[in-house]
């Protein structure tokens, strides 16, 4: 058997088995335990084999490459420490599974799931103690947290379970994050995250940042091992079924912190802060835990707080460890695992038999179950350190080492002595209290009423643990040999540990006799006073404070979410634009550009033409913008804004750009009409503008500020851009080549239809797609008859057009004139201001005008075609000259020109650019008029529905607003 196989059997087999166990459990019920049992047993045997093969020394790292390209490997470090913990995890795991088989009887549901979680936990736990890479350790570490979450919350019907599960997960996962940060720091300091390489490389204490890495790692360990101030989660985790408490929360998971401290002991124990940090926290925990245990009355709570305190002892032992290594850590750990595991199982058995948890309600169980009494007596004896148990050895050796610590550590040593002696004293008191309170005395009424008997197999696991306490306590040489066998260099002192049943009459023995006597006195006093004072003061109920904080955090997250939702895009627009402005502005002065920037702005300002006409035009544009900001009602804002747009036209004209001017004025017109139509769809109250109120006013100022900042930024950018003429402007090239290459005098047009015709083709395609998209959004509202027109007639809107005959006639006349003009613009576009875009806009405006005169219905009837289709056909026409040359094997969009002599007009230059321009014209006219039609038509029908609509807005958003055929599309 190779070590790889050991890893496979111990870590991965249970992980894989968890699924099938859960599945089989559905049919098997409580018998699922027997399906799960082989896995911890196999893991234990495999690890025992590994332990036998090991024989001391730095263990090998075995594993497999995972992502070779990244150098990520899945390696496991098999040495004394990891195997020792692995044996505990799998051994206790096997016992707990047997125990659970009887504890979780028919009263519980989901047995399969329970054992699956248990296997999942065991696998992650073994992975955590065996992992070589610290990151892998972190992953397994968090997996144990998740498994613990699932197990604590197993009885998820109970509020306490859910609360405890959440608290445990948050505390351990949160501190685990600190550990991750520490791991990352270590990786940075040492250049590797592999434990084997780290340990081989020696201590890190001298490196910079080692203190921070150590503190972060320890934070993770403290959280996991419920050290002060994180001690509060462990008692709440006791809401789990008792086998879980016995396994996770006393024997194994909470020992992970101990494991980590032991693991990094060789790396950090030379650091000045190591003993201070570890010692202070651990011994404080020792005191706090034991005092709280004394003040508790529930059996499991006493055991939980005593676990907290003992974890402090185990961690503190490493804190005071000499640099040469510690000697007896395995003894202390094994001792605690055995007696605490046994006691938890006893507590579970008592609960199973009586459904009682409180020591004060119990009593006289000795007569009911002697066996249980003997097991408890042995475990309690080990806890208080009676000779003949490992507890005695543990206590004596601890005293021996601690009594010399004031010399080595000063005040910390004194704290250690006080904490260890004091907690042992208290431990004696509550050990006796447990045994006496539960087993001796008169049988209480509750016990007599509720006793249900105990299956003997359930008592087997605690008996095995108790037997271990006694056997190893009587024959400590066995233990010493095993400890020497599993010795880890760096962590452990090189000389073999010496364990004897009897060390002779020493100072420690006398001290412990005194401590036991005082403990007895404390217990006696408690008995005399009836433990009336045993109540945890509110100031120590940190768990409640934690819960409240978590709940508040939930509320805070909700608020953040509401803010980050799309409910207020205006706010977010401000944030986005503000961020951009800030990022641009912040960069400038730091880069030492301020001076150059000012110079640039000045140069840019100087480069502008400052004549009266231009300044006047600019002033009107600015006035329009200010009006939009100051005015309240939407239509007024819109008109004010479009004033700016219209006046901008003058600017183009001043700079001799007639094409741009024409386009601008036409686009402005069409847009204005479109948006006015849109505005008409809103209720009048909305159109009047937002109402007052302090918050609204603030919003206005905020938006105004953001807008002004962005405008200023763009102005500066514009000035900087114009401050220096570009070295290589493209404009002159086009002007020079427009006639020779494109055979057209209007450079703007030749760029559109010739030089950059591919872009234009793309643009008009996007336009057509955009039209389809807008239709998708707009054409949802259909009248009852399936057509908007019916609504129009039904509500008596002017479907038939106005009465005035003159208006109709004039409109028709103007329509033809305008379209003739449009065709003229289209024709001359190649050589003079005009072209497809401009002509299309003119034509679209003529249609709008006609619609105003005739009404939408009439216009639709007269036109007999769908403008939307016109746009699509336009695209096809434009694609024709683009694609035709390719058929002839020429480049796409190559142009051909012909001179035709047509009498009486004379010579005509026509060519493929004109065809292309016609396509553009059709697309523009089609899209513009389609949008106007759809908006105008639906708005007429819409008005009447507004009142009804407002009522609808109050209903939930998800409710369909559709009032007719669902999903209807098609032309308007």
């Amino acid at each position: 058997m190779s070590l790889e196989l050991v890893i496979l059997l111990s870590v991965f087999l249970p992980l894989v088995a968890a699924g099938p166990v859960a599945w089989m459990g559905r049919g098997l019920g409580a018998r699922a335990a027997w399906v799960a049992l082989p896995f911890p047993v196999i893991a234990f045997l495999a690890l025992a084999w590994a332990a036998a093969a090991l024989g001391g020394g730095a263990g090998p790292a075995v594993g497999w490459p995972w992502v070779p390209t990244l150098g990520v490997e899945l390696k496991f470090l098999v040495d004394g420490l990891s195997v020792f913990f692995g044996l505990i995890v799998s051994g206790v795991g096997a016992l707990v599974v047997i125990y659970s088989a009887f504890y979780l009887d028919g009263h519980y549901a989901h047995h399969g799931r329970f054992y699956a979680y248990l296997l999942l936990f065991m696998a992650s736990m073994l992975g955590a103690v065996l992992a070589d890479n610290l990151l892998a350790l972190f992953v397994f570490w968090e997996m144990t947290g998740i498994a613990s979450f699932l197990l604590i919350g197993f009885l998820h019907g109970e509020e306490g379970s859910r609360r405890g599960a959440r608290m445990a997960l948050l505390v351990t996962a949160g501190t685990g994050l600190a550990m991750l940060a520490g791991i990352i720091l270590i990786g940075q300091i040492a250049g590797t995250a592999s434990l084997r390489e780290l340990l081989a490389g020696g201590g890190l204490a001298g490196r910079p940042m080692a203190g921070a890495a150590m503190a972060l790692l320890l934070l993770g360990a403290f959280g996991k091992s419920a050290q002060f101030p994180f001690h509060f989660w462990l008692p709440n985790a006791m809401a789990a079924p008792t086998p879980v408490s016995a396994y996770l929360h006393s024997a194994t998971m909470v020992k992970l912190g101990v494991y980590l401290v032991a693991r990094v002991f060789p790396l950090f124990n030379e650091h000045a802060a190591w003993s201070v940090l570890v010692g202070t926290v651990a011994f404080a925990t020792l005191i706090v835990g034991s005092v709280l245990a004394l003040l508790s009355n529930e059996l499991k709570a006493i055991l939980a707080f005593s676990t907290v305190s003992q974890l402090g002892l185990l961690i503190g032992y490493y804190g005071l460890g000499p640099s040469g290594g510690v000697s007896y850590d395995y003894l202390h750990i094994l001792n605690h695992v055995c007696y605490k595991g046994a006691l938890f199982m006893v507590a579970g058995a008592i609960y199973h038999a009586t459904h009682l948890k409180d020591v004060r309600e119990l009593g006289g169980l000795w007569r009911r179950s002697r066996w249980l009494g003997v097991v408890t007596a042995v475990a309690c004896a080990a806890m208080l350190g009676m000779p003949g148990t490992t507890g005695f050895l543990s206590k004596e050796l601890m005293f021996k080492e601690i009594f010399v610590s004031p010399r080595a550590h000063g005040p910390l040593g004194i704290l250690a002595v006080v904490a260890v002696v004091g907690s042992t004293l208290i431990k004696v008191a509550f050990s006796i209290r447990i045994f006496q309170g539960v087993f001796l005395g008169r049988e209480s009424e509750a016990v007599a009423r509720g006793w249900r008997g105990l299956p003997w197999m359930m008592l087997l696991p605690p008996t095995i643990l108790a037997a271990g306490l006694v056997v190893l306590g009587v024959a400590p040489e066995l233990l010493a040999a095993a400890m020497h066998w599993l010795n880890v260099p760096g962590l452990h002192a090189p000389d073999a540990p010496v364990l004897h049943l009897w060390h002779g009459v020493t100072a420690e023995l006398l001290a412990s006799i005194a401590v036991v006597a005082s403990g007895l006195a404390l217990w006696w006093w408690g008995r005399v006073t009836g433990w009336r004072w045993a109540r945890i003061p509110a100031a120590f109920r940190w768990d409640e404070g934690f819960d409240a904080a978590v709940d508040r955090f939930g509320g805070w997250c909700g608020r953040v979410t509401r803010l980050s939702g799309a409910e207020s895009p205006r706010l977010w627009l401000g944030v986005v634009i503000g961020a951009v402005v800030l990022a641009v502005c912040l960069g400038a002065p730091w880069a030492g550009e301020a001076e150059g920037l000012v110079r640039r702005i000045a140069a840019g300002a100087a480069a502008q033409d400052w004549d009266a006409l231009r300044v006047g035009v600019a002033a009107i544009v600015a006035l329009g913008a200010i009006g939009a900001a100051v005015l309240r009602s939407w239509p007024a804002q819109l008109i004010s804004l479009s004033t700016s747009g219209f006046i901008s036209t003058l600017y183009f004209a001043l700079y001799h750009a007639p094409d741009l001017a024409l386009t601008q004025i036409l686009v402005e017109t069409v847009t204005l009409v479109l948006v006015l139509y849109l505005l008409a769809r809103f209720p009048r109250s909305a159109q009047e503008g937002e109402d007052g109120g302090a918050g609204r006013a603030f919003g206005r100022w905020w938006r105004l500020g953001v807008a002004a900042a962005f405008g200023t930024m763009m102005a500066v950018v514009g000035l900087v851009m114009t401050s220096a003429p570009h070295a290589d402007p493209v404009g002159p090239w086009y002007v020079a080549h427009t006639v020779p290459l494109a055979e057209g005098a209007n450079a703007v047009n030749t760029i559109l239809v010739d030089f950059r015709a591919l872009d234009t083709l793309g643009e008009i395609s996007v336009l057509v797609v955009a039209m389809l998209g807008c239709l998708g959004l707009l054409m949802r509202r259909r009248g009852p008859g399936g057509d908007g027109g019916v609504v129009v007639e039904a509500v008596g809107v002017q479907a038939g057009g106005p009465e005035s005959m003159i208006l109709v006639m004039v409109a028709r006349l103007v329509f033809f004139v305008l379209n003739a003009f449009a065709i003229y613009l289209l024709w001359r576009g190649h050589n003079a201001p005009g072209g497809g875009f401009i002509a299309g806009l003119v034509s679209a405006i003529s249609l709008v005008m006609l619609s105003l005169a005739l009404g939408w219905e009439e216009l639709h009837r007269v036109l007999r075609f769908d403008p939307g289709r016109l746009a699509v056909w336009g695209l096809a026409v434009a694609a024709l000259p683009a694609a035709a040359p390719m058929v002839l094997g020429r480049p796409m969009l190559e142009q051909y020109m012909w001179s035709l002599a047509i009498w009486p007009i004379g010579k005509l230059h026509v060519g493929t650019p004109l065809v292309f321009d016609v396509g553009v014209f059709l697309v523009v006219v089609g899209i513009a008029s389609k949008m106007l039609f759809v908006l105008g038509k639906s708005t007429c029908g819409f008005r009447a529905l507004v009142g009804e609509e407002e009522a609808r807005y109050a209903s939930p958003a998800d409710e369909p607003i559709e009032r007719a055929r669902p999903g209807g599309g098609g032309g308007a």
């Binding site: 992502v67 070779p68 390209t69 990244l70 990151l135 992953v139 997996m143 998740i146 998820h156 994050l177 991750l180 940060a181 990352i184 990786g187 940075q188 997250c557 909700g558 953040v560 979410t561 980050s564 939702g565 799309a566 895009p569 977010w572 627009l573 944030v575 986005v576 961020a579 990022a583 641009v584 960069g587 400038a588 880069a591 550009e593 150059g596 920037l597 640039r600 930024m713 950018v717 851009m721 570009h726 070295a727 872009d759 793309g762 395609s765 996007v766 797609v769 389809l772 998209g773 998708g776 959004l777 054409m779 949802r780 958003a957 998800d958 409710e959 369909p960 607003i961 669902p966 999903g967």
Partner: protein
């Protein structure tokens, strides 16, 4: 024939690619054929148009996976045919394939049989493909706009549902805003560099940024980055995402979450390893901050969500943050990690959204409570969902875990340890909200009058394959990573 010819397999390294080999042309043609065939074709085709579309996507994907070789360019450098674009095009095709497979059994009422619903993803994939291949800002802008417009039609496809329309309008507003930023940015960059070509700009940009025009260049760069930030839904440009994800039909939500996000990252990588390559170190801190903000906003926002689609929206913001970490790392490892992460995210997100899409009508909605007792009603589906959520949460040994690992490692190696810690906070928060639906599925009891969940075999197969991919990518990423490394070698 045209399919075989136009899939780019004949292109060899370093040569000019004939335009007819551009796969986008083939896709465009197929989309058009589907559209026209679905409108006027024989009845047999019209009723099966979604199936035909899915089959064609599958065929294209197979061609893309097995026959494409990088190298060459077309249209005089406007179109780049390199490893990066090939990787992303495969991802887009994959997204389109799964989305159209989901449409096969889309419960979204009459919409499912609308032909444009089926055909538009093709046009979207064409636009994405062009985005990934763009070698010029003009191509980039036009393709980005095409994608945005196509997307909002798709989002608002369920026009009888208020939220769908609302989502469409919000997407439209977002699209307009981001287009404005993009055009502004392009104009400023053009003004200061005098070119729109990526390769030419790469040489001129560092000089321009250092010169007197520095503020202008910086404003331009920022505006372009903002536009990309909108596309990938990074905070603070994320506000549209939750509403759009929730409102859109489920297949489209999946498509957006996977393909559209990937397209955004394709552009980001293309820009940062192309025209902006010389100023990448200037932009990297900004990307890192965006990543941190996205991780926090996305993951903390998701904590209080009760609707699964909305949850995916918020968590998608968080995932964008993790992806940005890889970009911010600025290393080859970071880019590889981003591609791997995207693939892993795509698979897992499609498992969750796919199941949701298949079940939403039977469950009665996409709220968490609708999942109550799914494990009792359909244990298989509940486990599929669990694997998908676990991969999204980044639990080992799934793809999501390895992706996070690689991204974090890349960021860490680039000295962004603080960002890794922020990401750790996000991961813990995400465990909480990804486990919440699990609790509903496994711990709660189903409603008493729950109808049976009928899910046909092809659909189950599809989702199961996706789940298998999530596991295989996580356990044996070797070949996949090798492909990524080979295709990105020249970056």
């Amino acid at each position: 024939m045209i399919v075989g010819l136009s899939c780019g397999m004949l292109a060899s390294s370093g040569c000019t690619m004939p335009w007819w080999q551009i796969p986008e042309l083939c896709w465009l043609l197929l989309g058009t054929v589907l559209l026209l065939g679905g409108c006027w074709g024989p009845e047999t085709l019209r009723s099966r148009v979604a199936g035909v579309s899915a089959a064609l996507f599958g065929l294209m994907l197979v061609l893309a996976l097995f026959f494409w070789a990088p190298g060459g360019e077309a249209f005089g450098g406007f179109y780049r045919w390199d490893g990066l674009s090939i990787l992303f095009k495969r991802l887009f095709l994959f997204g389109g394939f799964i989305a159209s497979w989901m449409m096969l059994r889309s419960p979204d009422g009459p919409v499912a049989h609308r032909v444009e619903y089926v055909a538009l993803p093709w046009f979207a994939v064409v636009a994405m493909g062009l985005m990934a291949s763009a070698g010029d800002f003009a191509v980039l802008f036009v393709s980005l706009e095409t994608l945005t417009i196509t997307s909002y039609i798709l989002v608002s496809m369920e026009r009888d549902r208020g939220t769908s329309l609302e989502a469409g309008v919000k997407y439209l507003v977002m699209g307009g805003l981001s287009a404005a930023f993009l055009v502004y940015g392009i104009a400023l960059l053009y003004g200061s560099c005098g070119t729109l070509r990526f390769d030419e700009m790469a040489g001129r940009l560092p000089g321009a940024l250092a010169g007197d025009m520095g503020p202008v260049v910086r404003a331009g760069l920022l505006c372009v980055m903002v536009a990309v930030g909108f596309k990938v839904a990074a905070a603070p440009f994320q506000w549209w995402a939750p509403d759009v994800y929730q409102g859109a039909p489920v297949p489209i939500t999946g498509f957006l979450a996977v393909a559209s996000k990937a397209a955004g990252f394709a552009v980001l990588l293309r820009l940062l390893w192309g025209p902006f390559g010389g100023v990448r170190d200037t932009l990297a801190p900004m990307v890192a901050w965006l990543a941190a903000a996205s991780i926090l906003v996305g993951n903390l926002g998701a904590l209080s969500q009760r609707n699964l689609k909305r949850l995916m929206g918020y968590s998608g913001i968080g995932h964008a943050g993790y992806l940005l970490m890889g970009v911010a790392a600025g290393s080859a490892a970071g880019v590889e990690a981003v591609v791997y992460y995207l693939a892993g995210y795509a698979v897992a997100a499609l498992v969750v959204l796919g199941l949701l899409g298949g079940l939403v009508d039977r469950l009665g909605g996409a709220e968490m409570r609708h999942l109550n007792g799914l494990a009792k009603r359909e244990p298989g589906l509940a486990w599929l969902m669990l694997v998908g959520l676990a991969s999204l949460a980044g639990l080992p040994p799934l793809a999501g875990f390895l992706g996070k690992w690689m991204v974090f490692a890349a960021a860490f190696q680039a000295g962004l340890a603080w960002l890794v810690i922020v990401a750790g906070v996000g991961v813990v928060a995400s465990l909480y909200y990804y486990l919440a639906p699990v609790r509903n599925m496994f711990f709660e009891s189903p409603p008493p009058d729950a109808p049976p969940l009928e899910l046909d075999l092809p659909f189950r197969t599809c989702v199961s394959i996706l789940m298998g991919l999530a596991i295989i990518l996580g356990i044996a990423p070797g070949p996949f990573m090798a492909t990524i490394g080979r295709l990105l070698a020249g970056l």
